[in-house]
Symmetry: C5
Subunit: 374 residues, 5 copies
């Protein structure tokens, strides 16, 4: 984290706009990754895991474990057929499936007959220090939760670890609890991100106080853009959690709502931090700009003092450097021409005069307060 100035980049993928397309069309972006399916089937005592790449993996596992809760974890959305098969298998609306693959959704929570659907934004710095902003979606129906992630990264490792350990409500809370746990992990990662940004702000402020240079504006710009990204994810996330708390779906039990209220508080806290960080970033910029302005002022003062002192002196030297002739073409002395040059001690008097003029000017500047620090 030595030099984060060059650090924050944005992984862009083109948005696919199919103007006037039939609503509910499932159109896969070209750069989508092939899906990896992991299924966790668990109850209080048992946990079975299977991996695969197609629909068969899912149907077999669900057929095998009848009294289990199933978490179908799909990493990569590159297979339109799979998404549609899942839609048919569970009876999911086409519009929902479109939202799963069109990965620019704002966080939201929708209730449908027999199932609920939610999305969130996963935001993190990847190993190349690019800011990744991708989509998580989840469908909860009966004893099944399907989670969709864009990348193959094992983002939810902490949740699978807790699941394997089997501690706490995670095995018994049902698919709704898993959905909460995933959302909560995403929120926790916002705090990780905000803590990194907090460090960046501190570094930038230290730089400002110790050795300000023009990278500060770039740093501040990066910070601002990252904060805008987090805020854009956080605001609708709060509304989403609120919708979940007020939801009457059987999937969101009263116990889960208690946890959700906690998540809601975290969300507000994150937004609160974003706003504070934005204000601090703004005041860093203001302070920096005022330092630039002051610096300019100081430079101008040095230039002006030196110039203004020497310009008249140089002029006087120029005067006595003129070649007005003491003699006309006929060799007669022209008495009026620069008599000072021919006077005893003339040179000394000239130097003293210059010195006094310089001194007088310094005195004027001192009176005007130019030697104070404005």
């Amino acid at each position: 984290m030595a030099n984060y100035t060059k650090r924050v980049k944005y992984k862009k993928h083109k948005r696919h706009i199919n103007v006037g397309a039939r609503p509910g069309s499932i159109i896969i972006p070209d750069d989508a990754l092939p899906p990896q399916i992991t299924i966790f089937s668990f109850n209080q005592d048992d946990l079975q895991t299977s991996k695969g790449k197609d629909m068969k993996t899912i149907t077999q596992q669900i057929a095998k474990c009848t009294d289990h809760t199933h978490w179908i974890k799909i990493n990569g959305l590159g297979d339109a057929q799979l998404i549609e098969d899942i839609g048919i298998f569970l009876g999911i609306n086409q519009l929902v499936l479109e939202d799963v693959v069109n990965t620019h959704q704002r966080p939201k929570f929708d209730e449908y007959d027999g199932y609920v659907f939610g999305t969130s934004r996963i935001i993190y710095f990847n190993s190349e220090n690019e800011l990744v902003n991708c989509q998580f979606s989840g469908i909860v129906k009966d004893n099944i939760i399907i989670s969709f992630e864009e990348s193959h990264r094992d983002y939810f490792e902490v949740v699978t670890t807790r699941l394997k350990a089997g501690k706490g409500t995670i095995r018994t809370g049902g698919p709704g609890y898993i959905f909460y746990a995933l959302t909560d992990t995403i929120l926790d990662n916002y705090f990780v991100l905000l803590s990194q940004l907090g460090d960046m702000i501190d570094q930038t402020e230290d730089k400002l106080y110790q050795s300000p240079d023009k990278t500060i504006m770039f740093d501040a710009q990066q910070l601002k853009r990252t904060l805008i990204t987090i805020r854009r994810a956080c605001w609708p996330e709060r509304d989403k959690i609120n919708d979940m708390i007020r939801s009457e779906s059987p999937e969101i039990t009263k116990d889960i709502k208690l946890f959700l209220r906690d998540a809601y508080d975290h969300c507000i806290q994150a937004m609160d931090m974003v706003e504070s960080y934005k204000e601090v970033t703004s005041s860093i910029i203001d302070l920096y700009l005022s330092m630039v302005s002051n610096r300019m002022n100081e430079i101008m003062k040095v230039l002006t003092i030196i110039s203004v002192i020497f310009i008249p002196l140089t002029f006087i030297a120029g005067i006595y450097g003129m070649n007005f002739s003491r003699q006309d073409d006929h060799g007669h002395v022209i008495k009026d021409n620069m008599p000072e040059l021919y006077v005893q001690h003339g040179y000394v008097y000239a130097l003293i005069g210059m010195f006094l003029i310089g001194l007088f000017q310094l005195f004027i500047f001192w009176k005007k307060g130019w030697f104070n620090k404005l």
Copy 2:
């Protein structure tokens, strides 16, 4: 899109203000285009199309196809008589017809006895790269939808294509679904526009980082104005869609409302992008201004360092360029006048002195940190 600096222009047409005119007056602007009427009459199995320029085309087609849904598509609003005839034919309020021809309406949705009326803003870059902001209005009554567009451009080609293909709900959803499909197409085009703006912002930002020049301010200005235009269309569009969702007109069926909820989400997403783009544009401006300020600072520093170093040296040279005479008019040596000039090695001492003064000044500047990058 190589150089979009000169690109965004606004196609202006004068607003016609008829102060104190009777409400409901249909006054056609001078530059309105002559109407082109296209009628699509369709049911699940059949699609008939006819084109024309007057009321007769409409009445004949409607008489002919009795169990069809009719989409009367009117491009060009230059015929007051036609508008009034349609009004009489369908029993439309004069105030509604006035809103159709007075093409500066904000998006809105109004319900009347037996029919509904809605307007939207169509915004796009035309082939001369001018930003066009014109009006779409639609009236839905029974099995008829009439759509009014200002231009002859085939803006809704994608919808007519889907209609001809006959896939999806488009043939069976009734005139309300057509109205939704047109609105949705307009919204999709906002995303096309926003994606173009996103590219412009990226280009401007790249320019800022690579070769900043003063066109950046003009680009930013253009971006801002375009964003203001989209926002002015998007905010009331959201309210309009919301009004449609809460409407109890039989024309807006429950199925359509499901799609409208999707369109509502898109609308919020568009507004969200507009806000983010505005913030990013602002921070580009801030960064650019700080670069200008820094550049000025740098220029001033160079000027000051060079000036301040040479001004005293030039003064010294000036001193020794003075013509104080070594001899008075009588040929006697004046010992006091510039004895330095007659000293062995005087010139070398003078050069060394100047060199040391210059060095001392550089040292002072170095101490003051002027060689650092503020």
Copy 3:
């Protein structure tokens, strides 16, 4: 409209504050004009007009035309006695009469027992191009509407013309419709004003792109003040119209409410334009300021390049202009003193040296990108 820079002035009249005065006091400002009364008595078939200056005119006309609607149009509020007589004649609350003469009311609509009262702001550029902001108030009771205007200007000419022509609902809509028509005329005039401002903004923007000078800031300032004035009138006007729509007074019939809804839309549209114009004005200012900043930058660059190139060269010329003597007082050659001056080709070498130094500096500036356009 060639030069509107000097154009926007504000006609000020002192506000009269009678601290602690009894509420309902009718205190006439010194500069109020004497009243001119015009009465239009009309029904579907008949229109009678009479003019006068006192109460008698009113009572006679009303006594004469019993089955007519009366519009008592009063221009000029300079006669306290008349106002009080009208109040007694129609049984109007003292607080209402106070609001009529205290012409700094925000637009509002109040319902009283048996009558309604409303005010609006009339805003226009008068023939001396001053921005006039004066008050319109109207009282509607039974079959009578009394309108009060501050000036003698025939502002509502369009309405009286329509009344004389006898077309539309204007003769049959009752006093409430006249009240609506007057309000609507005021609103229409906001659009005239906004259209003038739109032209000014376009002119200012053209000036900015073609020949920016410092009048732009003054223009922008004028635009802003005018926009603030319109906004101050428009916001409460919207609330007023809304109050009228929700009013249950018999004077505001259901038909009038339909028209009022249209006026409400216009009002929002006007506010929308004001906000857009304010944003555009702000961005014009920003652009102008950045141009000033850039201009300064450019000037500094020219100064710096020329200064920095010539300062060292002039110094060198100064060196060789020094008068270090080749001979001491005894006529011996001092070999060390400026031997360059006595060398074959010395002058040519010096010129070449200066030329190379200048070239080197230009190269440095070119490397630093000073010849690019920041």
Copy 4:
């Protein structure tokens, strides 16, 4: 009002913070004035006045006039015992009494069992032109109103005059009407203040257009602070009046509520003026800053044009001022050394050359538009 730059000062009194003190503690600030009690006991026909400094004055007067309304006017809060005695006499809650003496309350209106309590901010310029911001509080119970003011100033003179004159509802409206009348007087004085500020703004704007100097920023700063002060008083005042209107206390009769609605309108009008004045002040600052910026620009242009024209010319003069010798030490002519100096008409050619160079530079500047007014 010739020079109000030095005018706006803030009379500060230290806020007394008694951390963790028992709520309801009556702690008198050190600089509080001793109380002056004036009692007006009146009914329609009679008005009796008595003055005093202690509780006895109050009890005697109330005992004496049984069928009167009593207005107990207390100027100066320096006697904790008196405040407590009044509290006990009328059965007032300790928290209310604390609010009376802790004179930093925001305007508010609270209802208690059997009495109501309200505070407002009295704001005015005193005779030393300091902005005074002190507290008015009033308690209305049965037929008694007690008003508390911080200063001995006869701020409510207009109300006592009306009371003595006995005109209007003031004698018969009960203590609630007196409370309204006092509040209304305070509001009227906001308009006096705003009118003074309006004059100041006009003066500042005139100064800006005629002879701008740096006092403008100080003036604007003063205006802003004063506007902030008024706004801080006005916003909660509006809520307070609204609370009074919706109050169901018998002290606030229906008639009074009619007047309060008028006061409410005044309050909104005052806030509206404050907001406009703030915007105008801001745009004065913007305009001034842009003038400073333009002035700098102009100065830089003059400096640059003069410098850039003369620097090369001076360099050329410097060249021909060099002392390259025409003869070497041995008296041989060195042909190469400055042959220009020995040429017929050399001097004239040099002068012409300099003149042409200067002209050429002027032409370049003219081409660059430096002689236009940016």
Copy 5:
């Protein structure tokens, strides 16, 4: 408080983020202090105090004093076991305990079955003049209130003093009253802080008027950050108090709600002061920046006037310093070469000419108003 520029520092402790951790985990930060337990058991007549470090202290004291109200005051949160034991002893939800140890909560008030939980932010300048922002939490259940503070500082000394004195409701108001008293003390300290900030603002403003220097920007930056911190605590505190007022818990009695309404007013007053202080700080910054800008202007004017006057004069001196020879190599007089130098009174004429040029320039500057103060 002589120099508070270097004063405001922020005591930072790292936030501990346990991504995906089981909700309700009690994880103690490394820098948490060991707990000090003080128990006050009191009724109207009796007050018993005991101190300790573990659970036993608590259970013994509670067992001993059965008809007392217990205030368990815990300073330092470094013992996870203790927190958990207290949780088990009183039956407190794990999520609540997590909020107690995770000391970055926003102020909030939550009701649970049988107990209530609230947090506030304690903000003060410690003896090293660092701004400390730490957490207070309180749990009220039956006759017990447990308060948790992060530091060992005796922040609530005033409350314990009042408790020992036994005056007022503090002994009889129950644990809810103690909770109110602690919250109120925290609020009172906000006013202490705001009063310190008010002094700082006054000092900064004085500095601005008397001897402005660049520390002003740093001071303003510090003020702003401190104000942001207070506002972040104050806004949710207001909501919290409001929640308490609307709470139906038996712990918050009707009497306490009366006091809470008072605290609510204080909270709004504090927020109001924060907003005013922010505006004043902003306008100080604006004024300072304008002073910097004016100062620059003044410096530039001096530089320009002196430079522009002397540059042409020095050029003329340079001209007459040129060495154009009066004789060609053959000794012939070259009449054209600088004849001015050989003219009678030439030198005097030259000096007079220079003087007139300088005078003319001064006249031009005076005409341009450069000697006015812009």
